[in-house]
C-alpha cells in the first residue's frame, strides 16, 4: 500500500505545479490586457469630463459673481468666486494645447469641445459686459457721493469685473466666435 501511495503524491504535486503555471501565465496576460483596457477607457472618458468641468467651473464663476453682487448672499458668492476662479485657472493652465502635459483630445470630441467652450465664452462675455455696465454705474455713484457704502459697492463690482474678464483673456472687447 505504501509503495502505491508515494508515487501518487509525486504525480499530484506535478499536476498542481502545472496547473499553477498555466493559471499564472493566463493571469499575467489577462492583467496586461486589463491595464491597457483601463487606460484606454480612461483616456476616452477624459474629453467628456473636461467639457463638463469647463462648463461647471465657468458657470459657477458666473453664479458666484451674481451672488456676490447681490446684497443678501455676499459671503457664499465670495467663497464660490474664489473656488471657481482657482479651478478655471487650473484647467486653463493644465489642459491648454501648449502645456507640457497635454493629452491629445480624441477626434470625435473636438467639435463638441469647441462648441462648449464657445457657449461658455459667450456667456462670460455677456456677463462681463453686464458687470462693466454695473462698474461704470457704481463709479458714477462714487463721483456723486463718496459714502462708505458706495466705496464697498465699487470695490465689489471691480472684483467681479476682474474675475470675469481674466478667463476671457485678451479676447474681451471682441465678441467670441465659433471656430469649427
Amino acid at each position: 500500500m505504501n509503495s502505491g501511495f508515494l508515487p501518487n503524491i509525486a504525480n499530484i504535486s506535478i499536476t498542481i505545479t502545472e496547473i499553477v503555471d498555466n493559471l499564472s501565465l493566463d493571469f499575467l496576460s489577462n492583467l496586461q490586457n486589463l491595464t491597457v483596457l483601463v487606460i484606454d477607457v480612461l483616456s476616452r472618458l477624459f474629453p467628456i469630463l473636461l467639457c463638463i468641468a469647463i462648463v461647471s467651473a465657468n458657470l459657477s464663476l458666473i453664479v458666484g459673481a451674481i451672488l456676490y453682487l447681490l446684497e443678501s448672499n455676499e459671503e457664499d458668492g465670495k467663497v464660490m468666486i474664489q473656488r471657481s476662479f482657482v479651478t478655471s485657472c487650473l484647467l486653463f493652465f493644465i489642459f491648454n494645447p501648449y502645456s507640457p502635459s497635454s493629452i491629445p483630445i480624441a477626434e470625435p470630441f473636438e467639435g463638441f469641445q469647441l462648441f462648449t467652450s464657445f457657449v461658455i465664452s459667450y456667456l462670460l462675455f455677456l456677463f462681463a459686459a453686464l458687470s462693466l455696465i454695473i462698474f461704470i454705474g457704481n463709479l458714477g455713484f462714487f463721483l456723486l457721493s463718496s459714502d462708505k457704502k458706495t466705496i464697498r459697492r465699487l470695490k465689489k463690482s471691480f472684483i467681479c469685473l476682474i474675475c470675469v474678464i481674466l478667463p476671457l483673456g485678451f479676447q474681451f472687447p471682441n465678441m467670441p466666435l465659433l471656430k469649427l
Partner: protein, 60 residues
C-alpha cells in the same frame, strides 16, 4: 511564481493609478464636484490629480 504574480500585479496597479489619463480624469472629476459645491472630496480629488501630473512630469 507567487513573486512574479505579485510584482506584475503591483506594476499594473501602479501603471493604472500613476498614468496621465487617470490624473486627468481625477482632476476633471474633482473640478466638477469642487467648483459648484465646495465638497471636500472633490478638493482632495483635484489635489491628488495634480500630484499625479507633477510626478509624471518629474519622471519624464
Amino acid at each position: 511564481m507567487l513573486n512574479e504574480i505579485l510584482t506584475s500585479f503591483l506594476t499594473s496597479f501602479l501603471e493604472i493609478f500613476l498614468s496621465i489619463p487617470f490624473g486627468a480624469v481625477l482632476t476633471t472629476f474633482g473640478t466638477i464636484i469642487y467648483a459648484p459645491t465646495g465638497n471636500r472630496f472633490g478638493k482632495y480629488c483635484l489635489i491628488i490629480g495634480l500630484v499625479i501630473f507633477s510626478l509624471n512630469n518629474l519622471i519624464a
